[in-house]
């Protein structure tokens, strides 16, 4: 009467052991595969971030260089213009001496009703033009 019990118990133990071992093996393999999968995805994401970062760094570098070049170029142009204006100013002032004398003569003519003899010479006009701001 007790023999079937022993057989059933042995059968049960053997079956449980087989299934438990198989499940453990599958679980370990699954965990390993999952870890590989996560590592691969992590590596891919890291690679993606690196690609974007590198591209943006390069683009930003090019942008900075271009903008810096334009600023330097613009600053040089403005400085050149300032130098040109300073140089032109002297020539312009010299060229304005006679028109200035004519203007003074016209104003005096209108004020006095006659063309007066000017006491101002060209040198004085140049001096006044250069000193007036």
């Amino acid at each position: 009467m007790l023999q079937p019990i022993g057989i059933a118990l042995d059968k049960r133990a053997a079956g449980l052991k087989v299934n438990l071992d198989a499940a453990k093996a599958h679980m370990q393999e699954t965990e390993k595969i999952l870890a590989d999968y996560q590592a691969k995805l992590h590596a891919s994401r890291h690679q993606a971030q690196t690609i974007i970062h590198d591209a943006m760094t390069d683009a930003q570098k090019v942008r900075d260089e271009k903008l810096k070049g334009i600023q330097v170029e613009g600053r040089e142009k403005l400085d050149g213009l300032q130098t040109e204006l300073d140089a032109g100013r002297k020539t312009l002032v010299e060229s304005l001496i006679h028109p200035e004398l004519e203007l003074v003569r016209n104003i005096l003519d209108k004020l006095l009703g006659e063309t007066p003899a000017l006491v101002t010479n060209e040198e004085r006009v140049l001096q006044v033009l250069e000193n007036t701001r």
């Binding site: 079937p4 059933a8 049960r12 079956g15 499940a23 393999e29 974007i52 142009k77 005096l108 701001r133």
Partner: protein, 195 residues
């Protein structure tokens, strides 16, 4: 019977009461035990067998599920290659798009910067022209003043004074006309308001 012959009356009673020496009692006990075992043990064994079978089925089921999960994970890992390639591909596309956007933004900024510098140069020129005009005007006034001092006579003074007064009266009359026009307008407004 021989046993009873050997002992006395008190010993017979004691022997009858002694369980160990009573064969009938032993037979009854064993029969009772067999009856109880036959009655309760089969159902107990059947329950245990059922329980064991259930556990075995559960273990088999768990194993199958583990196998399925493993197969799923294996399939997933095969797709992971494609997924990883897709991620990298999308990153490359995004990087190219962002670089292009930044490039276009740079071109726009460069154009604006050039425009600003051109505007600054234009303003610089305009400022120089205005400054020169102002200098010419101020110099003309100063030189006129110097020449006027030396050319001013009594006749000139009178003429200039008359002209000055004439200008003042012109200015005064024009301002009075403006005031009368304003007061007339105010009056009209008042009329309209009253109406």
């Amino acid at each position: 019977m021989f046993l009873f012959a050997e002992v006395g009356h008190e010993n017979i009673v004691a022997a009858l009461l002694d369980f160990r020496s009573n064969l009938l009692n032993w037979i009854l006990l064993i029969g009772l035990l067999i009856w109880a075992i036959k009655k309760y043990l089969p159902s107990f064994i059947a329950q245990r067998q059922q329980s064991i079978n259930n556990e075995l089925e559960l273990a088999i089921k768990t194993r199958k599920e583990a196998e399925l999960a493993l197969a799923g994970q294996k399939e997933k890992i095969e797709k992971a290659e494609q997924e990883a390639e897709q991620i990298v591909l999308e990153a490359k596309q995004a990087a190219a798009r962002m670089s292009e956007d930044l490039k276009q933004q740079t071109e726009t900024d460069i154009a604006e910067l050039r425009k600003k510098f051109e505007m600054a140069a234009h303003n610089e020129k305009q400022a120089a022209i205005l400054e020169m005009r102002s200098i010419v005007a101020k110099a003309a006034i100063k030189l006129t003043e110097e020449n006027l001092r030396s050319n001013l006579t009594e006749n000139n003074k009178t003429k200039i004074a008359h002209e000055f007064m004439g200008e003042l009266s012109k200015i005064g009359s024009s301002s009075m006309n403006d005031e009368s026009v304003n007061s007339r307008n105010d009056h009209d407004h008042q009329k309209v308001a009253n109406a």
